[in-house]
C-alpha cells in the first residue's frame, strides 16, 4: 500500500468509524471532518424522510440514521442516494426495532423522492383519448415514468397526510393499501387507490390495454365493468397519471 493509500485509509477510518489516527495530522482537528460526515449524511437523509423523522422524534431518527450509515455507507456520488436503502434497511431484521410501519412510511417518502426528478413525459390527454372512437379498446394504459406503487400493510398514508396537513396524527393501524405516487408537471402527488384500481395498478406499470383493464374489472363489477373502466380512465386522465402511449417515442 502506498503512503497516500495508507493516509486516506487512516483518515477514512477515523472519520467514518472513529478508529485511531495517531501521527496522521500535523495541525488541526480531524474530529471536524468526523462531525461533518455524520451531520451531512443525517441532514440529507432527514431531508428525504421528514415524516419519518417527525414520527420517530429527532433523537431516535438520528440514532436510526447513524446505525443505517454504519450498515450502508454511501456508495453513490450523489447525496440524493445516501438514504436510498433506508426502507429496505428498516424492513430487514437488522433493524426491526421501529416496526414495519416505519419501513412503509420510509418507502412512501422514498417513492416521492424518486418521482421528483424521474424522467419527463407528456401525459395522455383527454381529447386525444376522446378522438380514438372505436380504437379505444386497444388504447394502452400505462403510468407516467415518474410514478411508483407503494404497497402498505399499515395506515402510513393517513399518517403522512395528517403530518402534511398539520392535523391529529392517527395511531398506527393495520390496513392493506396500495398508494400510487406520481409527478404532475413538477409536483409530486400520491393517492391511495381503490381496491379495484389497486388490482389494476401493477399491470399498468408495463402497460395494459383498455380491454384488459375491463376484463379485470369484470371479475369484481360484472356488467358494471365498462362504466367503471370509463370512470377510472377519466380519473387517471384528469390526474395526468397516464403516459402518452399514443405518441410514438424514441427512447
Amino acid at each position: 500500500m502506498s503512503e497516500l493509500a495508507m493516509i486516506q485509509q487512516q483518515f477514512y477510518d477515523f472519520v467514518t468509524k472513529g478508529s485511531a489516527a495517531d501521527g496522521l495530522i500535523a495541525t488541526g482537528d480531524l474530529k471536524i471532518y468526523a462531525r461533518m460526515y455524520a451531520s451531512r449524511l443525517h441532514d440529507a437523509i432527514a431531508g428525504d424522510y421528514p415524516k419519518l423523522q417527525n414520527r420517530l422524534g429527532h433523537d431516535e431518527f438520528a440514532s436510526l440514521v447513524y446505525r443505517f450509515i454504519v450498515a450502508h455507507p454511501p456508495q453513490s456520488f450523489t447525496l440524493r442516494d445516501a438514504g436510498l436503502k433506508l426502507g429496505r434497511y428498516l424492513r430487514s431484521s437488522a433493524d426491526a426495532s421501529v416496526g414495519v410501519w416505519a419501513a412503509e412510511l420510509a418507502e412512501l417518502e422514498r417513492a416521492r423522492v424518486e418521482c421528483f426528478d424521474a424522467r419527463d413525459a407528456a401525459p395522455l390527454q383527454q381529447d386525444a383519448v376522446a378522438a380514438l372512437g372505436d380504437a379505444l379498446p386497444d388504447l394502452v394504459l400505462r403510468w407516467v415514468p415518474a410514478s411508483a406503487m407503494v404497497t402498505l400493510t399499515t395506515n402510513v398514508d393517513d399518517i403522512w397526510s395528517a403530518i402534511e396537513d398539520g392535523t391529529d396524527v392517527p395511531a398506527v393501524a393495520l390496513a392493506q393499501r396500495v398508494v400510487l405516487v406520481w409527478r404532475r408537471a413538477t409536483t409530486v402527488v400520491h393517492r391511495t387507490l381503490d381496491d379495484d384500481e389497486a388490482a389494476l395498478a401493477p399491470m399498468m406499470i408495463a402497460g395494459a390495454t383498455f380491454t384488459e383493464v375491463c376484463d379485470v374489472l369484470a371479475t369484481q363489477h360484472g356488467e358494471q365493468a365498462a362504466p367503471r373502466a370509463v370512470e377510472l380512465l377519466l380519473r387517471w386522465l384528469q390526474a395526468e397519471a397516464l403516459d402518452d402511449t399514443l405518441v410514438a417515442r424514441s427512447v
Partner: protein, 281 residues
C-alpha cells in the same frame, strides 16, 4: 486561456422563482450550478437549468469528482458529467482539489490531500484522464481545510500551481478558502496568492465562513467578510479581470440581498483594476 464571464452567483433552489418567473431579469452575468444536483433524469431541476441556460452562461461546479482518491476514477460519474456537459454546454467545468471516496464508499465531503509528490503525480494523471474523457479543460478549486498532514511537503499554493501546469488545467481560486485555510494553519495568504500562476486562474469564488474560535469553517452561511474582500482586491490586482461569483449555501438571504453583495464585487473589481492599470495607488 479563460473567457471573463463577469459577475455571477450560485443558483439556489430558493431563488428559482426570482430567476425564472420574475419580470425583472436579475443583473447577474452568469450562474454557477452544482453539477450533481442536475444529474437526474427530469423534473423541475432539469427544467430550471434549461430555462437558465437559455438566458445566461452557466458554470458546472462539481463536488463528487474525488480527483485525489487512490480509488480509480468513477466512470459512471464521468459519464453522467459528460452527458450534462453535452446538454448544458457550460462555459466552465470545475471541481475541487480533494478526495471524497475510498473503497467505493463516499464521504460526501471535500477531504484534504497530503501535499506530497505522490499525491501530486496522482492528481496530475487523473486530471489528464478526466480532461481526455470530457474533451475539455477543467478547473480545480483550492479547498478549505481543517487539518494538515504530517506527510505534507509542499505548500498548497505551489501544489495547485504545479497541478495546473503539469496537467494543463485551470484553477478556480476560492479567495475565502485561501483565507480560511491560511487562518486555520497559520499560512500567509499573500504568499499563497503569489504562488498561484495568474494565467491559470479561470474563475474566482467568494463566500462567507463561520468563526468557531478554534478554527474557521467554510459554511457559506454569512456575507463575505472584510478580510476576504481585501484579499479579493489583491487577487484582482494580481490577476486582472476574472469571472467572479458569490457562493451562498446556508442561511440564504433574498436574491436582492445577494445582488447587493454582488454589486460590491463589481465595485471592488473595478477599483482593483484601476490600481492594476496604475490609475490608483
Amino acid at each position: 486561456m479563460f473567457a471573463n464571464l463577469g459577475f455571477g452567483l450560485g443558483l439556489r433552489t430558493v431563488h428559482y422563482g426570482d430567476v425564472i418567473d420574475s419580470d425583472v431579469v436579475p443583473p447577474v452575468d452568469w450562474w454557477e450550478v452544482i453539477s450533481e444536483n442536475f444529474m437526474v433524469e427530469g423534473g423541475n431541476p432539469r427544467r430550471i437549468l434549461r430555462l437558465v441556460r437559455e438566458r445566461w452562461p452557466v458554470a458546472l461546479h462539481g463536488v463528487s469528482l474525488s480527483i485525489g482518491t487512490v480509488d480509480p476514477l468513477d466512470e459512471h460519474y464521468l459519464a453522467q458529467l459528460a452527458a450534462l456537459i453535452a446538454d448544458v454546454e457550460p462555459a466552465i467545468v470545475s471541481d475541487h482539489l480533494c478526495w471524497m471516496t475510498l473503497g467505493g464508499h463516499s464521504g460526501h465531503d471535500l477531504w484534504p490531500l497530503p501535499y506530497t509528490e505522490e499525491a501530486l503525480n496522482l492528481v496530475v494523471r487523473k486530471v489528464q484522464q478526466v480532461q481526455d474523457r470530457l474533451k475539455r479543460r477543467i478547473l480545480l478549486e483550492n479547498p478549505s481545510t481543517y487539518v494538515t498532514f504530517s506527510a505534507s511537503r509542499i505548500a498548497e499554493g505551489e501544489f495547485m500551481a504545479e497541478i495546473a501546469k503539469r496537467a494543463d488545467c485551470g484553477i478556480l481560486l476560492d479567495v475565502n478558502n485561501v483565507y480560511v485555510s491560511c487562518r486555520n494553519h497559520g499560512w500567509d495568504p499573500q504568499a499563497y496568492l503569489a504562488a498561484i500562476p495568474a494565467e491559470r486562474v479561470g474563475q474566482i469564488h467568494l463566500a462567507g465562513h463561520t468563526d468557531f474560535g478554534t478554527h474557521l469553517l467554510d459554511t457559506h452561511d454569512h456575507p463575505v467578510c472584510d478580510a476576504v474582500w481585501s484579499l479579493y482586491r489583491d487577487a484582482i490586482i494580481k490577476l486582472g479581470p476574472r469571472s467572479s461569483m458569490i457562493e451562498r449555501d446556508d442561511a440564504i438571504p433574498p436574491l436582492a440581498e445577494l445582488l447587493t453583495e454582488l454589486a460590491n464585487v463589481r465595485a471592488l473589481a473595478a477599483d482593483a483594476l484601476a490600481v492594476r492599470a496604475g490609475a490608483l495607488p
